[in-house]
Symmetry: C2
C-alpha cells in the first residue's frame, strides 16, 4: 500500500497556482481571510475538487471540506488540512502547503485507485491568521466548540467590513458546496505545515514530527513610579519605573531561556510615559509572552516573573500592577498518530526530529475533539509571515509524501 506516490509536479504546480491569487510585488501573498483573494482560492480548490469527482462542503463558519468517500461512508471521516488565508505580507507556503498537500493526498489516492475504509477529507480552516479579523483560528475554534461565539458577528475588519457580511458573502460565493453542521465527528486530523522557525533547516533534517504545541501565557505588567526632572532629582529621591523594569528584565532574560531550552520569553511591547528625554518616566507598561510545553513550569515561571518585577519595583519605590491576560494550555498531540508519522518517515528513509510548535495552529483546536498531530517541513532561514518565505521543493514533496504514507498507515489499521 505504501508504494503509491504523490505527484510532486502536480503539487508544486498547484502551489504556484495558488501563490498567484493575491500575489504581492515582493514575491509573497496577501490573501487575508474572507477577502476577494481568499474567495478566489476557495473557488479554485472547489473547482479542482469537483473536477476529480470529490464532494465539497462548507459549514457555517466557512470552513471548506473536500471529501473522498471510503468504504464506510457512515463512519466519521479522517481529516487533513490547514488554511488558505495569509498575512498581509505573507508567504507562499504558510497554510496553503498543508491544504494543497492534503488535497494531493486525495488525488494520489484517486490516481492509485485506493479505496480507503472511511472517507478522507481535505479541509481549509477559515481565518487561521487572525489578520483582518481577530482572533485567529476562527474556523478550527468554532469547529472544535461546535458554535460561533456571539461577539464575532459584529466584528469589523481593519478596512471597516462587517465580519457577518464577509462570512455570508464567502458562503454564498460557493453554492456548489453543500452546507454541513458545524463540528461533526471526525476520526482524526493531520496537518502539514512549514516550521516557521529555523531548527529543521539548521539541523538539515527534512521532517519535523510535532509532538505538541507549547502553552502560552501573556502578561501585561505596569510599573508606576513618579515623573521627575532628569537633572534635579538625585538617586535617593527617584522612583524610576524604567530602572525597575531594566533590572527585572535583565534578570528574567538571564534566567528563563538560558536555563531551559524549551522556554520562550519575549517582551515585544514596551511603552514609557510621558516619554521625554529629560523626564524620569512616570510609568512603564510592557508585555510578556511566555511559552513552555509544561503547564506546571508555566505556573512557576509566571510566579517568578511576577515576583522579580514586583521586587525590582519595590526596591526603587515603585508599584507594580500585573494582569494575566491570556492563557493557552500546552497541547500534546496523539501518540498513536505521531507513531504512524515516525513509521511513515522511516519507511521513506527520511530523517526526522521531534519538535514542539511555538506558534498556534488549527491543529491546536482540532486536538480538543479528535486525535491530532502535525508534520513540519523546513523553511528557509526560519522566515515566515514574510514575503521571502520559502520551502525547498524536495521538502514540500517529502512532507506531502509523509502525510500520504501516514494517512495510509492510520487507515490501514482500520481496514
Amino acid at each position: 500500500m505504501t508504494k503509491a506516490k504523490i505527484d510532486a509536479q502536480r503539487l508544486l504546480g498547484r502551489l504556484d497556482a495558488f501563490a498567484a491569487i493575491g500575489a504581492t510585488q515582493g514575491g509573497g501573498v496577501n490573501r487575508q481571510a474572507l477577502s476577494q483573494e481568499d474567495r478566489r482560492a476557495r473557488q479554485l480548490l472547489t473547482e479542482l475538487a469537483q473536477a476529480r469527482g470529490f464532494t465539497v462542503h462548507q459549514d457555517a463558519i466557512a470552513n471548506l471540506f473536500v471529501r473522498r468517500t471510503g468504504k464506510d461512508s457512515s463512519h466519521a471521516p479522517f481529516l487533513m488540512g490547514s488554511h488558505l488565508d495569509s498575512q498581509i505580507t505573507g508567504g507562499r507556503f504558510d497554510g496553503v502547503l498543508g491544504t494543497l498537500a492534503a488535497f494531493e493526498v486525495l488525488e494520489a489516492l484517486e490516481d492509485a485507485g485506493i479505496e480507503t475504509p472511511i472517507a478522507v477529507e481535505a479541509v481549509a480552516w477559515m481565518n487561521e491568521e487572525g489578520c483582518r479579523y481577530q482572533p485567529g483560528c476562527m474556523g478550527s475554534m468554532a469547529f472544535a466548540t461546535g458554535s460561533i461565539p456571539d461577539g464575532w458577528a459584529t466584528l469589523r475588519s481593519n478596512d471597516g467590513r462587517l465580519f457577518r457580511d464577509d462570512l455570508q458573502a464567502a458562503l454564498d460565493a460557493l453554492p456548489q458546496a453543500a452546507m454541513r453542521p458545524l463540528g461533526f465527528p471526525i476520526a482524526g486530523y493531520l496537518e502539514l505545515h512549514i516550521e516557521q522557525g529555523p531548527s529543521l533547516e539548521r539541523a538539515d533534517v527534512p521532517i519535523g514530527i510535532v509532538e505538541g504545541i507549547q502553552g502560552t501565557r501573556w502578561l501585561e505588567i505596569s510599573i508606576k513610579g513618579q515623573a521627575a526632572h532628569a537633572g534635579t532629582t538625585p538617586l535617593e529621591f527617584r522612583r524610576d519605573p524604567m530602572a525597575a523594569a531594566a533590572s527585572a528584565l535583565s534578570e528574567l532574560y538571564a534566567e528563563i531561556m538560558p536555563r531551559d531550552a524549551r522556554a520562550r520569553f519575549t517582551v515585544g511591547k514596551f511603552v514609557v510615559a510621558p516619554g521625554t528625554v529629560n523626564a524620569i518616566p512616570e510609568q512603564v507598561d510592557f508585555t510578556v509572552d511566555l511559552r513552555h510545553p509544561q503547564n506546571t513550569e508555566l505556573d512557576r515561571l509566571v510566579s517568578f516573573i511576577e515576583t522579580t518585577c514586583t521586587e525590582a519595583a519595590v526596591a526603587v519605590g515603585c508599584e507594580t500592577h500585573i494582569r494575566r491576560v491570556f492563557d493557552m494550555a500546552p497541547t500534546d498531540f496523539s501518540e498513536t498518530l505521531l507513531d504512524e508519522i515516525r513509521q511513515a518517515a522511516d519507511g521513506l528513509g527520511l530523517s526526522y526530529r521531534p519538535l514542539l510548535s511555538g506558534a498556534f495552529h488549527d491543529a491546536l483546536f482540532v486536538n480538543r475533539v479528535a486525535p491530532t498531530a502535525m508534520i513540519f517541513v523546513p523553511c528557509r532561514a526560519g522566515l515566515s509571515h514574510n514575503e521571502a518565505e520559502h520551502v525547498e521543493p524536495q521538502h514540500t514533496v517529502a512532507g506531502a509524501q509523509v502525510l500520504f504514507d501516514s494517512v495510509l498507515n492510520i487507515l490501514g489499521k482500520l481496514d
Copy 2:
C-alpha cells in the same frame, strides 16, 4: 547697610497678582512666552516699575529690564532676575519668584533711600521655558551672544504662530519701554529660583547656594536585531534588541548613580518596534540624559554607556547606532558672588547648603559674559513644572532677603 529689609507682604502680594495672570483651574499658571498672558505680565511689571520712578527697557529679543540708577550711571549695571513665562501647566513660582524678588530689591532700596554705586536692574528674560517656542532660554542666550540666531525668526509655535510676529507684537505692546542694544555689558548677575528638586526641603534648609550647573549630554541609542516569532524562535536563533537593552541598562543603572552621588542617569524615552506582544522586537530606540558637574567625568561616562550598550548588543547578535545629540558643558558660578551670598545668609542667621543645579537656567547663559550665581529656595516635595508647585512664604521672604543682602554686599565692595 544690611539692616534694611525687603517688604515681605508686598512681595507675597505681587506673587499673587502675577499668579492671577494665566491662572489655571488647577491652581497653577499657564503663561507661555510671548502669549497674551506673558504680555500682560510684562505690562504689569512695567506699570509697577514706572509707578516707582524706575526706567524700563527692552531689547530686540524682548528681554525686559527695570533700572534703578546709581551714582555712576556710566558703569555697567548689576543685574538680578529670572523669567516671567511658564510651562503650560506650570506653577506660581518658577521664574516669576526670581523676577519679582529682584523687583522687590529695587523697591526696598528705594524705600530705604539707599543710593547704590552703580545702577541695579531687575530683568525678565524672554522664553526660559521653551514651551511654545524652542529652544528655551532664548532671551538669556541671545543676550549672552549678542545676536539672535537666523533660524529663530521663522520658528512656529505649537498653535501655528510665527515667532517673529509674536516677538514684534510683544515689543510693540510696551512702547513705554525704550529699546536697548542686545547684550550690553553688565557688572554681574544674581538669580533667585525655586530648587525644582527635593534636597533643600528634605534637609530642612531654607537657602541653597548654587555653585554651578551640571553639564548635560544627550545620547540617542538604537539597537537593531531581528524581528521573529515569540513562540517559534529558540534562544540561540534570537537577535533580541530588547534583551540587549535590558542587560545594558540594568548595568548602567547599577553603576552610574550608585557610585557617584553627583551623577544623573535617565532613560526617559524608549520605543520598541514593531511593538506587538508576540514578536521579538526588530529594534529598540532610547535616549540617555546624563548630567555631571565635571566634563572629564561626562566624557568617561559617555564612553562607558556606549561601550556597555555595544557589548550587550554584540552579545546577542545585535548592532548599535549611537548618536551624541546634545552637549552642554558644566558651569561654575562666580566664587566671589557665591561668597557674598554665604555671608549674606550668615548675616541673616539662615542655614544654607551648597547645591548644583541639575536644570538649565538663564544664569547658565549670563554666566558666559559676567560673574553670576544663583540662590535656591525649597519647593514643596520638589515639585515644579506642575500646578501644585508651592513655596512656603517664609522661604520666599528668606530668599528675597538673601538676594537683597547679597546685592548690597557686592555693591558695597564697589563703593
